[in-house]
């Protein structure tokens, strides 16, 4: 940061406040009970009808390390992480100074008075609050003060930003309805914070303000993992095997809650499901594969390290042609890496997981709504194509709170795929386990204990009749049919969402949570650079036929992803012709934080500027890295 910035007059203070366009970052110590305060803040803005998102940036630790919660409220509906922090709530002495120094000039800070942050720099508006004094007044029991202290900043923010205190009251009551004593204490802290701010900051200019809108009417707030769990529930999952791992644990934990509530047979009181917390991820997928072999709808959820352990079983399921639904809530790897940070780093690994010639179907949810719908689609596709399928969520989507339309009830019946029954046998005449009778590469399977003959299931060494074979022609035929099956899947996986802008020479391809940054990036490029862009939101692997046409329609196509090596672009290279590959540019974001629009916009702008230079000075740089200083 240039020193002149430090000396700049806080400009925003003299201007009218910016309405419904701000990011709030609350810096606390993890384990200090800030979650309730942060959720109340998020919910109260949501209840006021303003589009909002909340992201927890937390360490791999239970208590004592710095943690940040960022809330973004935006009248245009931009809910990707905002690169700049507008309002900082500095509660953590360890990071307070650094947090304040990293702000842009003109921003605001609410802080614990004892930290004396107002001396750090002059170009920021400071609101000191004596948290210890206030909490002592509202909470006589010293042991409980730590838990209600954070509620005070909600009260202060309500006053400063114009958030209706009644909305905070409602949000808090909703979260704590079963804990009357805690609710009373927290309400008192909330009101005390508000009262303090009213008394001390009244009339002080505040650069930001929240005002009522009607943009969130009838929407829900939910985490991606909860939405995926709901999708599994509605997909009629019967066998669940899992091993705890951040950031996926809450998926199966939520699913267990739903199953216990909604899947107990009313007549017998018995469970129409089985859940096993396995001894590791190898066993978790082994159980899923065993269950699907015996005909059950089965699933597991995990993250990168678990995916590593699942490699061998994934290959077996691919060759034995058994369904398996695997949620990969991606995080930064490896085990001792940044396990609580987000990434799209498992794309290439999952797409070809296992040894030998294997490739797998991937679904790429961008929203909580897609976590729900793709969970259901995944079960249908896995059973239809008799193969493992990965739903590539990520920490940002899985563990953070997102707005969505209420989820629709699934109208289509479950697709259980090609199972041998009296009817299907009559239709096909003669049955062999691995015989492609329909020309789509998918054979009929008989299920143990049900109709049809038994057979011995094994890996790649079999012929069309499921007999043991190491004959070269049998093996080649198996591989070629599996490829045919994969090609058939191109026509069945979710299609991309394409938005073509008339006359646009530049296209953007993105997937998963990057979507939310791209929506904003496109507007930034249009508004700031007069650059119109078309958008291709990829929703599955294998790629569908739309990809060629999209690339053909543009001069340059930026492939945006949250990993270092452009993994999705790498998969595209395997599929596309040279001319099309040459049009692709890679924009990558990989610092562990959710991707933000500004970083992407800056990268595309820089590249486009180079393209505009005369040819001799143009650095033809196909790889553009979007690195961000943390």
């Amino acid at each position: 940061m240039a020193s002149s910035d430090l000396l700049a007059t806080p400009a925003a203070v003299t201007s009218p406040p910016l309405v419904n366009d701000l990011s709030i970052q609350v810096a606390t110590v993890n384990g200090s009970g800030s979650q309730t305060a942060n959720l109340v803040l998020l919910r109260s803005i949501f209840q006021m009808g303003v589009p909002v998102s909340g992201k927890n940036l937390f360490p791999s630790n239970i208590a004592g390390l710095p943690t940040w919660y960022t809330i973004r409220a935006n009248r245009h509906g931009y809910i990707a992480r905002k690169k700049e922090i507008d309002l900082l709530v500095a509660m953590n002495p360890e990071t307070a100074r650094e947090d304040v120094l990293s702000l842009e000039p003109g921003r605001a800070v609410v802080y614990d008075e004892a930290l004396k942050l107002d001396q750090v720099r002059p170009d920021i508006t400071f609101y000191p609050v004596p948290f210890d004094k206030i909490v002592a007044e509202v909470c006589p029991d010293a042991r409980l003060r730590r838990l209600v202290r954070n509620m005070i900043y909600d009260g202060v923010l309500a006053h400063l930003l114009g958030i209706d205190l009644a909305e905070m009251d409602t949000a808090l009551t909703r979260l704590m309805k079963k804990k009357a004593k805690a609710l009373t204490l927290n309400l008192a802290a909330l009101q005390a914070g508000f009262a303090y701010a009213s008394e001390h900051f009244e009339g002080r200019p505040v650069p930001f303000r929240v005002e009522r809108m009607r943009e969130t009417h009838d929407l829900i707030l939910i985490e991606g993992n909860g939405a995926a769990a709901l999708g599994c529930l509605m997909a009629g999952v019967t066998v669940v095997a899992w091993y705890p791992i951040t950031p996926s644990s809450s998926l199966c934990e939520t699913l267990i809650d739903y199953l216990r509530k909604y899947r107990i047979d009313p007549d017998t009181g018995k469970a129409t499901f089985a859940v096993v917390q396995a001894e590791d991820e190898i066993a978790a997928l082994g159980m899923v594969v065993g269950a699907s072999w015996a005909g059950a709808r089965s699933m597991t959820s995990t993250s990168g390290p678990g995916i590593s352990l699942m490699a061998e079983f994934t290959g077996l399921a691919y060759f034995a042609e058994l369904p398996a639904v695997i949620f990969d809530v991606q995080r930064v790897g490896p085990s001792t890496g940044l396990p609580t940070r987000t990434a799209q780093g498992d794309i290439a690994f999952a797409a070809g997981l296992s040894h030998g010639d294997t490739k797998h179907l991937l679904l790429l949810p961008a929203s909580v709504s897609e976590c729900y719908t793709m969970a259901m689609q995944a079960f249908d596709l896995a059973e239809r194509f008799q193969t493992p399928i990965f739903i590539m969520s990520d920490l940002d989507l899985g563990m953070n709170t997102w707005m969505a339309e209420p989820f629709p009830y699934p109208e289509a019946p479950l697709d259980r795929g090609k199972v041998l029954t009296e009817q299907t046998l009559a239709a096909i005449g003669e049955w062999s386990r691995y015989k492609d009778v329909d020309g789509d590469g998918i054979a009929y399977r008989s299920l143990p204990g049900q109709f049809g003959p038994g057979f011995f299931t094994r890996g790649s060494g079999h012929n069309a009749r499921a007999q043991y074979s190491e004959r070269p022609d049998d093996y080649t035929q198996t591989l070629d049919r599996l490829l045919r099956k994969f090609e058939s899947a191109r026509g069945a996986v979710p299609e991309p969402e394409i938005e073509l802008r008339a006359g646009a020479r530049v296209g953007i391809i993105a997937f998963g949570t990057s979507h939310w940054a791209i929506v904003e990036t496109r507007d930034q490029l249009r508004d700031e650079d007069r650059l119109e862009t078309s958008y291709y939101r990829l929703r599955a692997f294998p790629f569908t036929h739309h990809l060629d046409a999209f690339i053909d329609a543009h001069d340059r196509v930026y492939v945006v992803e949250q990993n270092r090596d452009g993994q999705m672009l790498g998969l595209m290279r395997q599929d596309l012709t040279g001319t099309r590959i040459n049009k692709l540019r890679s924009v990558r974001h990989y610092n562990g934080l959710p991707i933000d629009a500004r970083s992407v916009t800056d990268e595309i702008r820089a590249h486009e500027a180079r393209m505009a230079l005369p040819p001799e000075t143009s650095a033809e740089d196909a790889i553009v890295g979007a690195e961000e200083a943390v």
Partner: protein
């Protein structure tokens, strides 16, 4: 010339009207004389004699010579040759999906004691209804004879290499971990192995059966403690087994105090005649004592080492509906519109 008319003898069938041939499988591809083939024969006999419908059986295995063998018995049953050391998880999933099936898993000493020891531990702990057979020859046959973790201290390979690590006693491990039917036998002891297998079919819970099954190609020489000769000399039966299936109306007389009678889950009776005065196979401590004492003498105890016929099995613990989860119709697995609405309301 007239041919004398030979009356066709009545076909031999079991109690459910199936012929012995129905219980056979594909021709074995294992070495001639391999102990595993004898075990497959006993499995065929046991399932035939117990009158189990092969189409109601799930055969599961990991990787190795032993794990190939499910192809050689009960040919009409579904089988799954999975990955090395991971049969327990596949079996668990399959049994959860269809609790009405009878599961039999075949593993080896490497598949169980080395690569698969983690899954073995947790299978025993869960007490999943499953017959789990370890075809135990102390070596890796399919990769040409390396030591496995059940090889005894001092046992030698053909090339003279001496095993310098103590063995894992799979039976002791299984008892400690919670298996409710733990037995050991020898592939050459037809009568004992058959009785154990029939009793296992009647048991509800994990039946861990360690069968010493010599590898004729790599581990049947002088100096090996898993050879036919060694096994014959050091087999120490701890009880004499009589099994009376529920469908046979036989009352067996025995002298009070000489025999431990065990009432099995399906109504069959297992009579374990004591060969040592104080040993009680329903007592975990006794069972472990017996294993340690015989091992100290350089012998291996055979028979039903430990049995607990009425422990809660994993499927009961999970309170599953009676029907297979695999075939529940959509109406029973997809919650109602109202349920979804209720969940949506909680997120508004």
């Amino acid at each position: 010339m007239s041919t004398p008319v030979v009356p066709t003898p009545p076909k031999k069938v079991n109690r459910i009207g199936l012929e012995p041939a129905t219980y056979r499988g594909a021709k074995t591809t294992l070495c001639a004389g391999c102990g595993h083939n004898a075990i497959s024969e006993r499995i065929i006999d046991a399932f035939y004699e117990m009158g189990v419908d092969p189409t109601r059986v799930l055969k599961l295995s990991g990787i190795g010579c032993s794990s190939k063998s499910p192809a050689y018995f009960l040919g009409s049953a579904h089988g799954f040759n999975s990955v090395h050391g991971r049969m327990p998880s596949v079996a668990t999933g399959a049994m959860l999906a269809n609790r009405t099936m009878l599961g039999i898993g075949v593993s080896g000493d490497g598949d169980t004691g080395a690569i698969g020891v983690g899954q073995f531990v947790h299978l025993m702990r869960r007490n999943l209804p499953l017959i789990y057979i370890v075809e135990d020859n102390g070596c890796y046959g399919l990769t040409k004879g390396q030591f496995s973790p059940t090889a005894d201290l001092g046992s030698t390979l053909k090339n003279g290499v001496v095993n310098d690590l103590p063995p894992i006693d799979i039976c002791a491990l299984a008892i400690e971990l919670g298996a409710t039917f733990v037995a050991r036998s020898f592939s050459g002891d037809k009568k004992q192995l058959l009785s154990i297998l029939k009793a296992a079919i009647s048991h509800k819970g994990t039946c861990m059966i360690d069968v010493i099954s010599p590898c004729v190609t790599f581990n049947d020489h002088e100096g090996s403690t898993k050879s036919y000769a060694y096994a014959k000399d050091h087999d120490e039966p701890v009880n004499e087994i009589s099994f009376v299936p529920f469908f046979e109306d036989i009352s067996v007389e025995y002298e009070e105090g000489t025999t431990t009678p065990v009432k099995m889950h399906d109504g069959s009776t297992l009579l374990l005649k004591k060969l040592e005065s104080t040993y009680n196979p329903t007592d975990k401590l006794e069972a472990n004592r017996m294993l340690h004492e015989t091992a100290r003498r350089g012998e291996f105890a055979t028979g039903v080492i430990y049995i607990q016929p009425d422990a809660v099995d994993f499927l009961t613990l999970l309170n599953l509906v009676d029907e297979p989860l695999a075939v529940l119709p959509q109406g029973r697995t997809r919650p109602s519109r109202q349920a979804l609405e209720e969940i949506m309301d909680k997120h508004r």
